[in-house]
């Protein structure tokens, strides 16, 4: 059964091409995926991300629970509203999901997980919660809108009351504030500045229309994917899954190794892998000639071995094909990619490819 977000009618009215995504019917694009992509890089675009799952973790055991559950350490969060990106691992250190958690107090955290992993995430969160004094509250009555781009914050601020505008304007990157029934976070998945706003379903369509009136271009999942790839951000289920550890998908920076006393699920397995040195590494690729890199294409590293592209696309900003790939640890600064039987040369780079509208490539 496909579910609709509170913005379904707004998407259809805007001429969106709707597709099934993780059990939700979502806009793929509203006419041109490329235009929507450029709009976000140059001005302001917005995405309906209401299919994502908001879970509030409340109770005296909330901090200890999340410290045990996440590979990153929520104890780093000391200022209310501060956000943290983390993986949630299984005992083998495979990634169950990647998520963002917002610290509101030691007894109240807001966790946002992926749509396609909703059921298994909730089951896992519930199972691990039994040993802690926590309550999990799935906030299905909330919608989420991501407004992204260099002018995104300014355009969105116009929809807030004078008082809320001052608070929202002062938000630092990776911070959030609850403003009446709007939860406003300066976070995103595009490599641009912007807000993610969590708000009641009943208010979502009006807020969306207000943003349209303010000159924010609706953008679909298609542009969201090319933007996040240019920004070097992983997509769960594509770049990593339960058989992949954070060390194998470029997310070792999200693992809090210190303090060493902190027990978290998957710690023993990932410590062992770190000590032994992982056999593969996660890199960015830039195709030298013409063509398009795609997920599952084979990567050949002469004299070293083979790897695989996990996500690839044509970069609308850079006008070249880019990809993220898992390759042998000994891979140097060049490789070849097999595209329809031909081996094409690609440069090995460190993502991101684009940040704040500008190329990160040499």
């Amino acid at each position: 059964m496909t579910q609709r977000t509170a913005l379904y009618d707004a998407h259809v009215a805007s001429g969106a091409r709707m597709v099934d995504f993780g059990g939700w019917i979502m806009p793929l694009h509203y006419g041109s995926q490329l235009e929507e992509h450029h709009q976000v890089r140059k001005d302001a675009g917005m995405f309906d991300t209401s299919h994502m799952t908001v879970v509030d973790v409340e109770g005296t055991g909330a901090k200890a629970y999340l410290q045990y559950l996440f590979a990153n350490d929520v104890a780093k969060l000391k200022t209310p509203g501060k956000a943290l990106y983390s993986c949630m691992l299984n005992e083998q250190a495979g990634v169950i999901d990647d998520l963002i958690t917002y610290y509101l107090s030691d007894t109240f955290y807001r966790v946002v997980v992926n749509a396609a992993t909703r059921e298994k995430d909730i089951a896992w969160l519930q199972r691990q919660a039994k040993a802690f004094e926590v309550n999990l509250i799935e906030r299905n009555e909330l919608s989420m809108i991501a407004i992204q781009g260099p002018n995104a914050r300014n355009k969105a601020l116009g929809l807030l009351t004078d008082e809320d505008r001052v608070t929202a304007q002062a938000l630092k990157p990776f911070s959030a504030a609850q403003l009446g029934d709007l939860f406003v976070a300066r976070t995103g998945y595009t490599g641009e500045d912007g807000f993610e706003v969590i708000l009641p379903n009943a208010r979502a369509a009006d807020f969306w229309r207000g943003l349209v009136a303010a000159g924010v271009q609706p953008a679909g999942l298609g542009a969201r994917d090319t933007l996040r790839l240019e920004a070097g951000m992983n997509l769960y289920g594509t770049d990593m899954d339960e058989s992949i550890t954070p060390l194998e998908c470029g997310l070792s920076w999200t693992v809090a190794w210190e303090p060493v006393e902190r027990e978290f699920i998957g710690r023993a397995a990932i410590e062992a892998q770190r000590a032994a040195g992982p056999a593969c590494k996660f890199v960015g690729l830039v195709l030298e000639g013409k063509g398009v890199l795609r997920g599952h294409q084979k990567v050949v590293v002469a004299g070293v071995g083979e790897g695989e592209i996990t996500s690839g696309t044509f970069s609308p900003t850079l006008k070249v094909a880019i990809a993220m790939a898992r390759v042998p640890a000994a891979t140097g600064d060049q490789c070849q990619v097999e595209i329809r039987g031909k081996l094409l040369t690609a440069k090995v780079v460190k993502p991101p490819f684009v940040r704040n509208g500008k190329s990160c490539l040499d």
Partner: protein
Amino acid sequence: MSDIPAELKYTRSHEWVRDNGDGTVTVGITQHAQELLGDLVFVEPPEVGSSYAAAEACAVVESVKAASDVYTPVAGEIIEGNNALADAPEQVNQDAYGEGWLFKLKLANADDLGNLMDADSYTAQVEAEA
């Protein structure tokens, strides 16, 4: 409803065929096909001089979303590819039946054109898929 010019012939796999009247045809993908693919970012036309049977994969069009094969509507030899698309693949989206043509083919058998669909049959197919 997609634009489906009456003077062209069509294939089940969404190519259009223009009879140039001199034993050659011009081939592209239909307006409906480009709509399904979305914004094109790469076109690989077939090699000039290669010969193909009918319904053989000979070219590739790639959108931001996916790569798709383009098939020869009829048997013949490739006499020209639209090289302008290398730098402007979006012409296929903007003008599928004009500037967005993909290749020209010299027919192996002129009678083969009779095997293709006319605009009415193609329209019916597109409607049935919707």
